[in-house]
Protein backbone atom coordinates (compact mmCIF):
# COMPACT_ATOMS: atom_id res chain seq x y z
CA UNK A 1 0.00 0.00 0.00
CA UNK A 2 1.14 3.50 -0.83
CA UNK A 3 2.29 5.50 2.20
CA UNK A 4 1.48 9.20 2.01
CA UNK A 5 3.83 11.98 3.11
CA UNK A 6 1.50 12.71 5.95
CA UNK A 7 1.72 9.15 7.24
CA UNK A 8 5.50 9.17 6.85
CA UNK A 9 5.64 12.32 8.93
CA UNK A 10 3.47 10.80 11.63
CA UNK A 11 5.73 7.75 11.71
CA UNK A 12 8.86 9.91 11.91
CA UNK A 13 7.28 11.83 14.80
CA UNK A 14 6.41 8.57 16.59
CA UNK A 15 10.00 7.36 16.22
CA UNK A 16 11.21 10.70 17.58
CA UNK A 17 8.94 10.36 20.62
CA UNK A 18 10.06 6.80 21.29
CA UNK A 19 13.74 7.68 20.85
CA UNK A 20 13.43 10.91 22.84
CA UNK A 21 14.90 13.05 20.04
CA UNK A 22 13.49 16.04 18.16
CA UNK A 23 11.45 15.09 15.08
CA UNK A 24 13.83 17.24 12.99
CA UNK A 25 16.62 14.84 13.90
CA UNK A 26 14.79 11.91 12.29
CA UNK A 27 14.53 11.25 8.54
CA UNK A 28 13.74 8.17 6.47
CA UNK A 29 17.46 7.46 6.13
CA UNK A 30 18.18 7.74 9.84
CA UNK A 31 19.45 4.41 11.10
CA UNK A 32 18.49 2.68 14.32
CA UNK A 33 22.18 2.80 15.16
CA UNK A 34 22.23 6.59 14.63
CA UNK A 35 19.45 6.87 17.18
CA UNK A 36 21.35 4.65 19.61
CA UNK A 37 18.39 2.35 20.13
CA UNK A 38 18.82 -1.02 21.84
CA UNK A 39 16.32 -3.85 21.67
CA UNK A 40 14.23 -2.51 24.56
CA UNK A 41 14.13 0.91 22.85
CA UNK A 42 12.93 -0.79 19.65
CA UNK A 43 10.03 -2.32 21.58
CA UNK A 44 9.15 1.22 22.59
CA UNK A 45 9.42 2.41 18.96
CA UNK A 46 7.06 -0.35 17.83
CA UNK A 47 4.67 0.56 20.65
CA UNK A 48 4.60 4.22 19.60
CA UNK A 49 3.96 3.37 15.95
CA UNK A 50 1.25 0.86 16.80
CA UNK A 51 -0.36 3.36 19.12
CA UNK A 52 -0.17 6.18 16.55
CA UNK A 53 -1.74 4.14 13.76
CA UNK A 54 -3.87 1.79 15.88
CA UNK A 55 -2.32 -1.16 14.14
CA UNK A 56 -0.25 -4.26 14.93
CA UNK A 57 3.22 -4.59 13.41
CA UNK A 58 4.44 -8.08 12.70
CA UNK A 59 6.92 -9.12 15.41
CA UNK A 60 9.11 -10.99 12.97
CA UNK A 61 9.41 -7.91 10.76
CA UNK A 62 11.08 -5.78 13.44
CA UNK A 63 14.17 -7.96 13.58
CA UNK A 64 15.54 -6.78 10.26
CA UNK A 65 14.79 -3.09 10.68
CA UNK A 66 17.91 -0.97 10.14
CA UNK A 67 16.48 2.42 9.13
CA UNK A 68 13.37 4.50 9.59
CA UNK A 69 12.56 3.68 5.96
CA UNK A 70 12.38 0.00 6.96
CA UNK A 71 9.81 0.95 9.59
CA UNK A 72 7.76 2.70 6.89
CA UNK A 73 7.85 -0.54 4.86
CA UNK A 74 6.79 -2.49 7.91
CA UNK A 75 3.90 -0.09 8.43
CA UNK A 76 2.92 -0.38 4.76
CA UNK A 77 2.80 -4.17 5.04
CA UNK A 78 0.69 -3.97 8.19
CA UNK A 79 -1.73 -1.57 6.45
CA UNK A 80 -2.00 -3.65 3.26
CA UNK A 81 -5.46 -5.19 2.71
CA UNK A 82 -4.05 -8.71 2.94
CA UNK A 83 -2.67 -7.98 6.41
CA UNK A 84 -6.14 -7.24 7.65
CA UNK A 85 -7.50 -10.66 6.67
Amino acid sequence: MEISDEIEQRLVAAVGRAAFVETDAVSLDTTIEDLGLDSADMVQVVFEIEDEFDISLADQGVEGVATVRDLVALLARARAPSAAE
Binding site: A19, F20, A40, V43, Q44, V46, F47, D51, D54
Partner: protein, 400 residues
Protein backbone atom coordinates in the same frame (compact mmCIF):
# COMPACT_ATOMS: atom_id res chain seq x y z
CA UNK B 1 24.17 -7.91 66.82
CA UNK B 2 27.50 -6.36 65.88
CA UNK B 3 26.88 -2.59 65.66
CA UNK B 4 26.55 -1.19 62.15
CA UNK B 5 27.45 2.39 61.28
CA UNK B 6 25.00 4.83 59.72
CA UNK B 7 27.19 6.95 57.46
CA UNK B 8 24.75 8.69 55.13
CA UNK B 9 21.13 9.76 54.93
CA UNK B 10 18.96 11.10 52.13
CA UNK B 11 15.30 11.97 51.77
CA UNK B 12 12.63 13.07 49.33
CA UNK B 13 9.67 14.04 51.46
CA UNK B 14 6.66 16.36 51.70
CA UNK B 15 9.18 18.97 52.88
CA UNK B 16 11.13 18.80 49.63
CA UNK B 17 14.30 17.19 48.37
CA UNK B 18 16.99 16.65 50.98
CA UNK B 19 17.37 15.19 54.46
CA UNK B 20 18.30 18.63 55.78
CA UNK B 21 14.89 20.10 54.90
CA UNK B 22 13.22 17.07 56.41
CA UNK B 23 15.08 17.24 59.72
CA UNK B 24 14.73 21.00 59.99
CA UNK B 25 10.93 20.75 59.66
CA UNK B 26 10.83 18.04 62.32
CA UNK B 27 12.92 20.09 64.73
CA UNK B 28 10.65 23.07 64.24
CA UNK B 29 7.44 21.09 64.50
CA UNK B 30 6.23 22.00 61.02
CA UNK B 31 3.67 19.94 59.14
CA UNK B 32 4.16 18.92 55.53
CA UNK B 33 0.52 17.83 55.24
CA UNK B 34 -2.10 19.82 53.37
CA UNK B 35 -5.23 19.43 51.23
CA UNK B 36 -4.64 17.39 48.09
CA UNK B 37 -5.89 19.85 45.48
CA UNK B 38 -5.98 17.38 42.63
CA UNK B 39 -7.99 14.79 44.51
CA UNK B 40 -11.76 15.18 44.85
CA UNK B 41 -12.00 13.31 48.16
CA UNK B 42 -12.01 14.89 51.58
CA UNK B 43 -8.56 13.86 52.73
CA UNK B 44 -5.33 15.72 53.33
CA UNK B 45 -1.92 14.30 52.56
CA UNK B 46 1.77 14.88 52.16
CA UNK B 47 2.74 14.99 48.52
CA UNK B 48 6.43 15.47 47.72
CA UNK B 49 5.57 18.60 45.73
CA UNK B 50 9.04 20.07 46.04
CA UNK B 51 10.52 17.11 44.19
CA UNK B 52 11.05 17.79 40.50
CA UNK B 53 11.97 14.54 38.75
CA UNK B 54 12.45 16.32 35.40
CA UNK B 55 15.36 18.16 37.01
CA UNK B 56 17.10 14.87 37.78
CA UNK B 57 16.32 12.52 34.90
CA UNK B 58 16.05 12.68 31.11
CA UNK B 59 12.70 11.88 29.47
CA UNK B 60 14.19 8.61 28.25
CA UNK B 61 15.31 7.63 31.75
CA UNK B 62 11.90 8.57 33.09
CA UNK B 63 10.14 6.33 30.54
CA UNK B 64 11.78 3.36 32.23
CA UNK B 65 11.10 4.15 35.86
CA UNK B 66 8.21 4.78 38.17
CA UNK B 67 7.97 7.70 40.57
CA UNK B 68 9.21 5.36 43.32
CA UNK B 69 12.49 4.83 41.48
CA UNK B 70 12.86 8.54 40.75
CA UNK B 71 12.41 9.42 44.41
CA UNK B 72 14.60 6.65 45.79
CA UNK B 73 17.45 7.37 43.34
CA UNK B 74 17.56 11.03 44.35
CA UNK B 75 17.50 10.11 48.04
CA UNK B 76 20.22 7.50 47.43
CA UNK B 77 22.38 10.05 45.58
CA UNK B 78 22.21 12.30 48.63
CA UNK B 79 22.93 9.51 51.12
CA UNK B 80 25.87 8.13 49.13
CA UNK B 81 27.36 11.60 48.68
CA UNK B 82 27.01 12.27 52.41
CA UNK B 83 28.70 8.95 53.19
CA UNK B 84 31.47 9.74 50.72
CA UNK B 85 31.08 6.31 49.19
CA UNK B 86 32.24 7.27 45.72
CA UNK B 87 33.27 4.91 42.96
CA UNK B 88 36.82 4.51 44.24
CA UNK B 89 35.60 3.75 47.76
CA UNK B 90 33.10 1.21 46.42
CA UNK B 91 35.62 -0.68 44.30
CA UNK B 92 36.13 -4.25 45.54
CA UNK B 93 33.55 -3.76 48.27
CA UNK B 94 30.46 -5.89 48.63
CA UNK B 95 27.34 -3.78 48.77
CA UNK B 96 23.65 -4.54 49.16
CA UNK B 97 20.49 -2.76 48.09
CA UNK B 98 17.55 -3.61 50.34
CA UNK B 99 14.53 -1.33 50.14
CA UNK B 100 11.01 -1.43 51.49
CA UNK B 101 7.84 -0.56 49.62
CA UNK B 102 4.28 -1.65 50.21
CA UNK B 103 2.93 -1.66 46.70
CA UNK B 104 5.74 -0.62 44.37
CA UNK B 105 5.09 1.42 41.25
CA UNK B 106 1.48 2.33 41.92
CA UNK B 107 1.44 5.35 39.58
CA UNK B 108 2.59 3.10 36.71
CA UNK B 109 0.13 0.43 37.71
CA UNK B 110 -2.72 2.91 37.77
CA UNK B 111 -1.80 4.08 34.28
CA UNK B 112 -2.01 0.50 33.00
CA UNK B 113 -5.32 -0.17 34.71
CA UNK B 114 -6.88 3.11 33.57
CA UNK B 115 -5.86 2.48 29.98
CA UNK B 116 -7.02 -1.12 30.00
CA UNK B 117 -10.48 -0.32 31.26
CA UNK B 118 -11.11 2.86 29.28
CA UNK B 119 -9.97 1.85 25.78
CA UNK B 120 -11.47 -0.69 23.41
CA UNK B 121 -8.28 -2.43 22.39
CA UNK B 122 -5.75 -1.04 24.81
CA UNK B 123 -2.04 -1.17 24.13
CA UNK B 124 0.00 -1.09 27.30
CA UNK B 125 3.41 0.54 27.36
CA UNK B 126 6.15 -2.08 26.96
CA UNK B 127 7.81 -1.04 30.21
CA UNK B 128 4.58 -1.26 32.22
CA UNK B 129 5.62 -4.36 34.13
CA UNK B 130 9.20 -3.22 34.76
CA UNK B 131 8.03 0.14 36.11
CA UNK B 132 5.27 -1.35 38.25
CA UNK B 133 7.19 -4.12 39.98
CA UNK B 134 8.31 -3.15 43.50
CA UNK B 135 11.82 -4.51 43.02
CA UNK B 136 12.41 -2.07 40.15
CA UNK B 137 13.45 0.48 42.77
CA UNK B 138 16.24 -1.79 44.04
CA UNK B 139 17.36 -2.60 40.50
CA UNK B 140 17.65 1.06 39.55
CA UNK B 141 19.71 1.82 42.67
CA UNK B 142 22.02 -1.14 42.00
CA UNK B 143 22.60 0.04 38.41
CA UNK B 144 23.21 3.64 39.47
CA UNK B 145 25.96 2.73 41.93
CA UNK B 146 27.20 -0.57 40.53
CA UNK B 147 26.19 -2.47 43.65
CA UNK B 148 26.59 -6.20 43.07
CA UNK B 149 26.48 -7.95 46.44
CA UNK B 150 22.75 -8.67 46.45
CA UNK B 151 19.42 -7.07 47.05
CA UNK B 152 15.65 -7.05 46.87
CA UNK B 153 12.60 -5.15 48.01
CA UNK B 154 10.78 -5.99 51.21
CA UNK B 155 7.01 -5.68 51.45
CA UNK B 156 5.57 -5.78 54.95
CA UNK B 157 2.96 -3.02 54.81
CA UNK B 158 3.80 -0.08 57.07
CA UNK B 159 6.90 -1.79 58.48
CA UNK B 160 8.48 -2.41 55.05
CA UNK B 161 11.37 0.06 55.35
CA UNK B 162 12.13 -0.93 58.93
CA UNK B 163 12.32 -4.58 57.96
CA UNK B 164 14.53 -3.58 55.03
CA UNK B 165 16.90 -1.54 57.22
CA UNK B 166 17.01 -4.23 59.91
CA UNK B 167 17.70 -6.93 57.36
CA UNK B 168 20.46 -4.89 55.74
CA UNK B 169 22.04 -4.19 59.13
CA UNK B 170 21.95 -7.83 60.08
CA UNK B 171 23.54 -8.89 56.79
CA UNK B 172 26.40 -6.46 57.41
CA UNK B 173 26.70 -7.55 61.05
CA UNK B 174 27.00 -11.15 59.84
CA UNK B 175 29.85 -10.14 57.54
CA UNK B 176 27.88 -10.68 54.34
CA UNK B 177 28.56 -7.18 53.02
CA UNK B 178 30.66 -4.08 53.67
CA UNK B 179 27.88 -1.59 53.10
CA UNK B 180 24.21 -1.33 52.20
CA UNK B 181 21.97 1.21 50.56
CA UNK B 182 18.70 0.73 52.39
CA UNK B 183 15.46 2.43 53.35
CA UNK B 184 12.06 2.66 51.77
CA UNK B 185 9.87 4.40 49.25
CA UNK B 186 6.21 4.84 48.41
CA UNK B 187 4.14 6.84 45.92
CA UNK B 188 0.63 5.73 46.70
CA UNK B 189 -1.17 9.07 46.55
CA UNK B 190 -2.92 8.12 43.31
CA UNK B 191 -6.68 8.72 43.02
CA UNK B 192 -7.65 5.06 43.10
CA UNK B 193 -5.34 4.18 45.98
CA UNK B 194 -6.53 7.19 48.01
CA UNK B 195 -10.10 6.08 47.39
CA UNK B 196 -9.24 2.61 48.64
CA UNK B 197 -7.65 4.07 51.78
CA UNK B 198 -10.73 6.20 52.35
CA UNK B 199 -12.76 3.02 52.19
CA UNK B 200 -11.03 1.80 55.33
CA UNK B 201 -12.41 4.78 57.30
CA UNK B 202 -9.13 5.38 59.07
CA UNK B 203 -7.97 8.63 57.44
CA UNK B 204 -8.11 11.80 59.53
CA UNK B 205 -10.04 14.62 57.83
CA UNK B 206 -7.93 17.49 59.19
CA UNK B 207 -4.70 16.51 60.96
CA UNK B 208 -2.68 13.60 62.29
CA UNK B 209 -2.79 13.76 66.11
CA UNK B 210 -0.87 10.78 67.50
CA UNK B 211 -1.47 9.91 71.17
CA UNK B 212 -3.93 12.82 71.47
CA UNK B 213 -7.50 12.74 72.72
CA UNK B 214 -10.00 12.85 69.87
CA UNK B 215 -7.50 11.60 67.31
CA UNK B 216 -9.27 10.67 64.10
CA UNK B 217 -6.76 8.58 62.21
CA UNK B 218 -3.81 8.71 59.89
CA UNK B 219 -2.72 11.08 57.11
CA UNK B 220 -0.97 9.57 54.10
CA UNK B 221 2.16 10.89 52.48
CA UNK B 222 4.82 9.81 50.01
CA UNK B 223 8.55 9.95 49.52
CA UNK B 224 11.78 8.06 49.88
CA UNK B 225 14.20 7.73 52.75
CA UNK B 226 17.63 6.17 52.25
CA UNK B 227 20.36 5.29 54.72
CA UNK B 228 23.86 4.08 53.98
CA UNK B 229 24.87 1.43 56.50
CA UNK B 230 28.42 0.18 56.84
CA UNK B 231 30.46 -2.32 58.70
CA UNK B 232 32.06 -0.36 61.55
CA UNK B 233 35.63 -1.31 60.70
CA UNK B 234 35.03 -0.45 57.07
CA UNK B 235 33.60 2.95 57.98
CA UNK B 236 36.42 3.76 60.41
CA UNK B 237 39.14 2.62 58.04
CA UNK B 238 38.06 5.10 55.41
CA UNK B 239 37.34 7.85 57.95
CA UNK B 240 33.65 8.02 57.13
CA UNK B 241 31.30 10.23 59.13
CA UNK B 242 29.47 8.00 61.61
CA UNK B 243 26.10 9.60 62.38
CA UNK B 244 24.96 6.87 64.78
CA UNK B 245 25.14 3.13 65.32
CA UNK B 246 22.41 0.71 64.48
CA UNK B 247 22.86 -1.81 67.25
CA UNK B 248 19.71 -3.90 67.38
CA UNK B 249 16.83 -5.22 65.34
CA UNK B 250 13.81 -7.17 66.46
CA UNK B 251 10.70 -8.32 64.70
CA UNK B 252 7.55 -10.15 65.61
CA UNK B 253 4.21 -11.24 64.24
CA UNK B 254 1.00 -10.61 66.12
CA UNK B 255 -0.70 -13.64 64.52
CA UNK B 256 -3.86 -12.00 65.73
CA UNK B 257 -5.84 -9.68 63.45
CA UNK B 258 -5.47 -7.84 60.14
CA UNK B 259 -6.35 -4.46 61.65
CA UNK B 260 -6.25 -4.62 65.44
CA UNK B 261 -2.76 -4.45 66.98
CA UNK B 262 -1.55 -6.72 69.76
CA UNK B 263 0.22 -5.27 72.79
CA UNK B 264 2.00 -8.56 73.25
CA UNK B 265 3.20 -8.62 69.63
CA UNK B 266 4.55 -5.07 69.83
CA UNK B 267 6.27 -5.78 73.12
CA UNK B 268 7.95 -8.90 71.80
CA UNK B 269 9.45 -6.93 68.90
CA UNK B 270 10.75 -4.27 71.31
CA UNK B 271 12.21 -6.94 73.59
CA UNK B 272 13.92 -8.77 70.76
CA UNK B 273 15.44 -5.53 69.48
CA UNK B 274 16.80 -4.64 72.93
CA UNK B 275 18.21 -8.14 73.42
CA UNK B 276 19.76 -8.01 69.96
CA UNK B 277 21.46 -4.72 70.93
CA UNK B 278 22.33 -5.95 74.43
CA UNK B 279 20.80 -2.64 75.47
CA UNK B 280 19.28 -2.32 78.95
CA UNK B 281 15.98 -0.41 79.19
CA UNK B 282 17.63 2.35 81.26
CA UNK B 283 19.79 3.33 78.31
CA UNK B 284 16.80 4.08 76.09
CA UNK B 285 16.00 7.78 76.25
CA UNK B 286 13.62 8.05 73.35
CA UNK B 287 11.16 6.08 71.25
CA UNK B 288 10.24 7.20 67.75
CA UNK B 289 6.84 5.55 67.82
CA UNK B 290 4.86 4.10 64.99
CA UNK B 291 2.11 6.48 66.26
CA UNK B 292 -0.20 6.53 63.26
CA UNK B 293 -2.87 8.61 64.96
CA UNK B 294 -5.46 5.85 64.93
CA UNK B 295 -7.36 5.09 68.11
CA UNK B 296 -6.42 1.45 68.60
CA UNK B 297 -2.85 1.42 67.34
CA UNK B 298 -1.58 4.34 69.40
CA UNK B 299 -3.17 2.97 72.57
CA UNK B 300 -1.71 -0.50 72.06
CA UNK B 301 1.74 0.86 71.25
CA UNK B 302 1.71 3.16 74.30
CA UNK B 303 0.67 0.27 76.50
CA UNK B 304 3.49 -1.90 75.15
CA UNK B 305 6.08 0.86 75.70
CA UNK B 306 4.78 1.49 79.21
CA UNK B 307 4.87 -2.24 79.99
CA UNK B 308 8.48 -2.53 78.81
CA UNK B 309 9.94 0.66 80.27
CA UNK B 310 7.64 1.55 83.18
CA UNK B 311 6.87 5.14 84.11
CA UNK B 312 9.84 6.24 86.20
CA UNK B 313 11.19 9.76 85.48
CA UNK B 314 13.93 8.30 83.28
CA UNK B 315 11.47 6.49 81.02
CA UNK B 316 11.92 7.21 77.31
CA UNK B 317 10.30 10.25 75.77
CA UNK B 318 7.98 9.12 73.01
CA UNK B 319 7.17 10.96 69.81
CA UNK B 320 5.46 10.34 66.50
CA UNK B 321 7.00 12.29 63.67
CA UNK B 322 4.11 11.07 61.48
CA UNK B 323 2.24 14.06 62.90
CA UNK B 324 4.48 16.17 60.63
CA UNK B 325 5.61 14.03 57.67
CA UNK B 326 2.49 11.87 57.57
CA UNK B 327 2.36 8.16 57.08
CA UNK B 328 4.70 7.56 54.17
CA UNK B 329 3.76 3.85 54.11
CA UNK B 330 6.70 1.94 52.62
CA UNK B 331 8.96 4.93 53.32
CA UNK B 332 7.66 5.47 56.86
CA UNK B 333 10.27 3.36 58.63
CA UNK B 334 13.04 5.07 56.66
CA UNK B 335 11.80 8.58 57.48
CA UNK B 336 11.53 7.59 61.11
CA UNK B 337 14.90 5.85 61.32
CA UNK B 338 16.47 9.01 59.87
CA UNK B 339 14.59 11.06 62.49
CA UNK B 340 15.80 8.69 65.20
CA UNK B 341 19.42 8.90 64.05
CA UNK B 342 19.19 12.70 64.23
CA UNK B 343 17.47 12.61 67.66
CA UNK B 344 20.31 10.49 69.07
CA UNK B 345 22.93 12.64 67.38
CA UNK B 346 21.46 15.94 68.60
CA UNK B 347 20.02 14.85 71.97
CA UNK B 348 16.71 16.27 70.83
CA UNK B 349 13.33 14.53 70.67
CA UNK B 350 11.31 15.97 67.78
CA UNK B 351 7.77 16.98 68.73
CA UNK B 352 4.42 15.32 68.20
CA UNK B 353 2.29 18.15 66.88
CA UNK B 354 -1.47 18.75 66.60
CA UNK B 355 -2.37 17.29 70.02
CA UNK B 356 -5.65 18.41 71.57
CA UNK B 357 -4.61 17.00 74.93
CA UNK B 358 -3.05 13.83 76.34
CA UNK B 359 -5.10 10.66 76.10
CA UNK B 360 -5.32 8.64 79.35
CA UNK B 361 -5.37 5.53 77.16
CA UNK B 362 -1.80 6.37 76.03
CA UNK B 363 0.12 6.37 79.33
CA UNK B 364 3.55 7.41 78.07
CA UNK B 365 5.54 10.66 78.15
CA UNK B 366 4.96 12.19 74.72
CA UNK B 367 6.94 15.23 73.47
CA UNK B 368 3.80 17.14 72.53
CA UNK B 369 4.02 20.45 70.64
CA UNK B 370 7.72 21.28 70.88
CA UNK B 371 11.01 19.43 70.60
CA UNK B 372 12.45 18.30 73.90
CA UNK B 373 16.14 18.30 74.80
CA UNK B 374 17.43 15.33 76.76
CA UNK B 375 20.52 13.16 76.66
CA UNK B 376 19.80 10.18 74.40
CA UNK B 377 22.29 7.33 74.51
CA UNK B 378 19.94 4.94 72.74
CA UNK B 379 16.58 5.18 71.03
CA UNK B 380 14.03 2.86 69.47
CA UNK B 381 12.30 3.22 66.13
CA UNK B 382 9.03 1.27 66.09
CA UNK B 383 7.12 0.21 62.99
CA UNK B 384 3.87 -1.71 63.32
CA UNK B 385 2.09 -2.88 60.22
CA UNK B 386 -1.41 -3.97 59.31
CA UNK B 387 -1.59 -7.69 59.68
CA UNK B 388 0.64 -7.66 62.76
CA UNK B 389 4.10 -7.37 61.18
CA UNK B 390 6.21 -5.51 63.72
CA UNK B 391 9.81 -4.30 63.40
CA UNK B 392 11.91 -2.34 65.87
CA UNK B 393 15.40 -0.88 65.49
CA UNK B 394 17.79 0.25 68.21
CA UNK B 395 19.88 3.32 67.34
CA UNK B 396 22.76 4.41 69.59
CA UNK B 397 24.89 7.48 69.85
CA UNK B 398 28.24 7.63 68.06
CA UNK B 399 31.16 9.07 70.02
CA UNK B 400 31.55 12.76 69.22
Amino acid sequence: MKPVAVTGIGAVSPFGTGAGLFLEALREGRSGLRPLDDYPGAVIGGRADGFDPAGHFTPKERSRMDRISEMVLVAADEAMAAAGLDEAERADRDGLVILGTIIGGEPSHETIIRRYYTEDMPRIHPFGIATTMPSGAASHVSMRFGVTGGGFCVSSACASATHAIGTAAREIALGEADYAITGGVEAMLTPSALRAWEGMRILAPDACRPFSIDRKGMVLSEGAGVLVLEDGDHARARGAPILAWLTGYGMSLDAHDMFLPSVDGIRRAIRKALVSARCPCERVGHVNANGTGTKASDAAEAEAIRAEFGDAPGAPVVTSTKSMHGHALGAAGAFETIATVEAVRADLVPPTINALGPDPDCPVDVAFDTARERPIEAALCNSLAFGGLNAVLVVEKAAA
